[in-house]
Assembly symmetry: C2
């Protein structure tokens, strides 16, 4: 199958590597609006060719993967659907779904679109961030599959199961709620933690470098993530994110009060409760 990938960053580029590695694409066509990324994706061999014309790139493909930031998706996905025949399939790989599903709800080719979110990533971006095996053993969430044609869903499931990934079906609204809890809030708190430490260590950057152990590195890692990726995600999942952020602020204030009031038994009880996360993330 010929596969066209629109957007050759971390996710688009890593998917190209995985699809090629598993022999799932005999021809990979890339569409990339940012010329240095297009050039670099070719140099790295992520795709076989770059096609500047969107309609030509779509016309050649059995499957189109739109891997652009979630704000751009709202424009690009309808454009691709306008170009699509009944024999082709298009997926997104975005981190938010409700707005996107609403944006294409009435489209005559809606059935050819499968809303997909591979739950994997790193804090890096661009074609140089593409890594082999990024999706292996991870979960692909497919949203509102009932609104997609059955053959389109089957094609997408078979392809991602071969990477291999597990497939999970969720409603779009449900997806956005849960990703706010298990992904978006982690990114927001990591950004805030980096800002906190940078503020406190304004004249002590060398000290952070000397002292930072693995714990610090792992909690601030996500703060290296690209604002161009994450601001649109935060924007589109704003209500869920504000809700979970308020819960987080309340939990932090609770820990603060226990510490300020020197209630160490209470603090211990809270930390023991937090330890329950071991049952979920072993």
């Amino acid at each position: 199958m010929t596969i066209t990938i629109i957007g050759l960053g971390l996710i688009g580029g890593s998917l190209a590597l995985s699809l090629r590695q598993h022999g799932l694409a005999d021809r990979l066509i890339g569409v990339e609006a940012y010329p240095p990324y297009a050039r670099r994706a070719l140099e790295l061999g992520l795709v076989d060719e770059i096609e500047a014309d969107l309609s030509a790139a779509v016309a050649l493909a059995g499957l189109v993967i739109v891997a652009v930031p979630v704000d751009a998706l709202l424009t690009v996905l309808p454009q691709v659907l306008d170009l699509l025949t009944d024999q082709q399939v298009v997926i997104d790989v975005g981190s938010t779904k409700s707005n996107l599903l609403a944006a294409v709800a009435g489209h005559p080719r809606r059935g050819r679109f499968v809303a997909a979110h591979p739950m994997a990533g790193t804090e890096y971006s661009g074609p140089d961030a593409a890594v082999r095996g990024l999706f292996e053993g991870k979960t692909l969430v497919i949203c509102d599959a009932a609104a997609s044609d059955a053959d389109a869903v089957a094609t997408v499931e078979a392809l991602f199961r071969a990477l291999p990934m597990r497939v999970l079906h969720l409603g779009g609204a449900e997806h956005d709620l849960h990703t706010a809890y298990v992904s978006h809030i982690s990114h927001l708190t990591s950004f805030a933690l980096a800002l906190t430490v940078l503020e406190k260590e304004q004249r002590g950057e060398q000290r952070i470098f000397d002292l930072a152990g693995g714990g610090f590195a792992s909690t601030v890692r996500l703060a290296k993530s690209a604002p161009a990726t994450w601001v649109p995600i935060f924007r589109q999942n704003r209500e869920n994110l504000l809700d979970v952020l308020d819960e987080h602020l309340s939990q932090l204030r609770k820990l603060r009060e226990l510490l300020a009031g020197e209630d160490y038994a209470g603090l211990t009880a809270q930390l023991e409760q937090a330890n329950e996360i071991r049952k979920i993330i072993p």
Copy 2:
């Protein structure tokens, strides 16, 4: 040299492995108040023998390493100093220093004590958590070295440089300030994040498991840490921690206001500023 390690958990056990691996101890004696840990440390071969009597264990050693939680340190370290001769050296490996340094300031054997903090760890605890190579390439902070005898400092530096570790000298108060920023706050926010998600996903544990990618796992990893280790650290570094926690709450509230007010240019500017952490943690 015969080395006695008091406390055979993550840090004491991992040090035992490192010292043995680099041929730095020809005999390792363990002291461990919790019988199941003592038994397990022997089974794992972390130490050659367990000595129930503290004075016997200290008498045999050229170097004593006290690797107990920081609250217990305030009792155990003076006991060890009471038993020490001028030819022996004792170190702690605790995460807070000001209280400990104050507790032994007037001790007649103060010079034989070197306050040390190897900046390394994991979220696991007990002898089974001991891992080879935990300290390799990391930083050992030595605090208030001027209050220790020069030969004692030289012995400790030579030993840890051989692991190999880098040695950094800091004042005790300065150490506690910086570790609040680069270690203690990361743990506190991770505990709070776990509590947030557990609260929000009360009936959806399977969903967290299905959806959690690497980002979530890395930010909540520290929430698995032992309360018996961390509550005493938070307690002894309470003032610095409250100060950095207040800064963190203020940064989180700032991000919240930008998102609530839909100021996406402002939010982008904040995230770009957080990206500066890349310069420090590459």
